[in-house]
Amino acid sequence: MPNFNLFPLVSPAVPHGSRLISLQVVAQRMKSVGNIQKITAAMKMVAASRLKGAQTKMEKSRGLVEPMVRLLGDQPGVDAERTLLVPVSSDKGLCGGINSTVVKYSKVVAGLSGAQVPLLTIIGEKARGQLSKAYAETLTGAIVDLSKVPLTFATASLVSDTILNQGAGKHQIVYNRFQSVISFKPTVATVYSSGEYEKAAESGMNNFDAYELEGPERSEFLLDLSEFNMGVVVYNALLENSTSELGSRMQSMENSTKNAKDMLGKLTLLYNRTRQASITTELIEIISGASALEG
């Protein structure tokens, strides 16, 4: 790698007034920065156009979550025998800090269940890359490439089945909740197994026993309900996270485009200045040579 000197005018090493090789280097860099700018601008446009649809879909998925939380409660602090942590991340990068946020928060939540390290089922390539080494012993699996086809409730049910099959009593799902295009809230959703919900219902920790039952008896009802609840939470978390991903990508690509534009402006200025300086120097040489001949 040659040592590019972007500021030949102030460099003492370069003889004054010579046409510089670095001018070619600057021209090359201008071209590559220009290309990068085009790519980031295109990525921003793609993210922006997908965001609207994703946001509508995500907002509709929020409906199911609220009644579930009302009935079963939101109790992240209750301990169960085994905890399963599910960090939700994206498969692709270049989307700002949302994946590292999920990883950071997951690490803290993983430290909360005492001496016992929680089981881990990772969703998304990015969190897998960052967490699978640190939690290799309790890692039960990773689910990736969910974003390749539009998410359906059936897919989310398959994912939640995989999660429930690990047999944990408490499941904590860490994801970015979409607030607006520029703000995402790291959120921890807690889903218990039906057994834990039954205990909570008996001790009055949730409202379940205030309701009459239409359907199978309580333990079977709660089994079905907790499975449905997991499907609902996973479906919403996946949509929230992918919407946040698009918003965050839009934002970060806009910044990159702006940075590339600034850089291109600076390089263009440098290029033109250097070119003009050398032309001026050459002109002076010619004129002074001519006037010496005349005199």
Partner: protein
């Protein structure tokens, strides 16, 4: 049907007379559960606060942060009940004021009027009929799901799939029923058998709903 509604209304009336007792019994565990939730979130946040690697890190949110405030339980049932009808991919009704809703539970159909006792129901494939006002009724065929009837006359219906009854195709339903019957006969293992039985149940319910339209 009319008799059944009358029974429901009578039931609602009798529950009205004992409002004070009911309000006490339903609100006491409610309050306790709210307290338990608050405590649980607080202990989680405290533990998080102690464990976080950098002091400037914000605390995470939990789903209850984003919920709309719950309505009070009124002393007397309101004129109209509030219906929320959710699907994963669609919100059919949100805070809609309606007269009555018929819900197909696994243990039988039941109607919900304002002031209905708090109930949680598991749905079977069947027709949810929403009586918007005295002249207008909308019917939806739901595949499965749950319904929560709350003490504050709010009803949440959560269906995996629901479509307006008039969009069901009679011929396709009959064909589906015949297909699944065939599959049940030719089923090789328990899984195929169970899948065919579910198909028959859903198609049969659709067929029944279309006949009763």
């Amino acid at each position: 049907m009319a008799l059944r509604q009358a029974m429901r209304r009578l039931g609602a009336l009798s529950s009205q007379t004992s409002t004070a007792a009911r309000a006490f019994t339903t609100s006491a565990p409610r309050l306790e559960a709210t307290e338990a939730q608050k405590e649980s979130i607080k202990s989680f946040m405290d533990a998080f606060d102690q464990n976080k690697p950098i002091p400037t890190m914000d605390l995470p949110s939990t789903p209850s942060n984003f919920m709309s405030p719950e309505r009070e339980v009124p002393a007397t049932p309101p004129e109209k009940m509030t219906l929320n009808f959710y699907m994963p991919h669609e919100i059919q009704f949100k805070d809609a004021e309606v007269d009555q809703v018929m819900i197909p539970a696994t243990s039988g159909d039941f109607g919900v009027l304002p002031g209905h006792v708090p109930t949680v129901a598991q749905l079977r494939p069947g027709v949810v009929s929403v009586q918007l006002n005295s002249s207008e009724t909308q019917k939806y065929f739901v595949s499965s799901g749950f319904a929560f009837v709350h003490a504050n006359s709010v009803t949440d219906i959560m269906a995996v799939e629901a479509i307006p009854l008039e969009q069901l195709d009679d011929a396709a339903v009959k064909k589906g029923l015949a297909d699944f019957n065939n599959k049940l006969v030719n089923a090789k293992d328990d899984y195929e058998k169970a899948a065919a039985q579910i198909g028959i149940e859903v198609c049969g319910a659709m067929n029944h709903a279309l006949e009763g339209k």
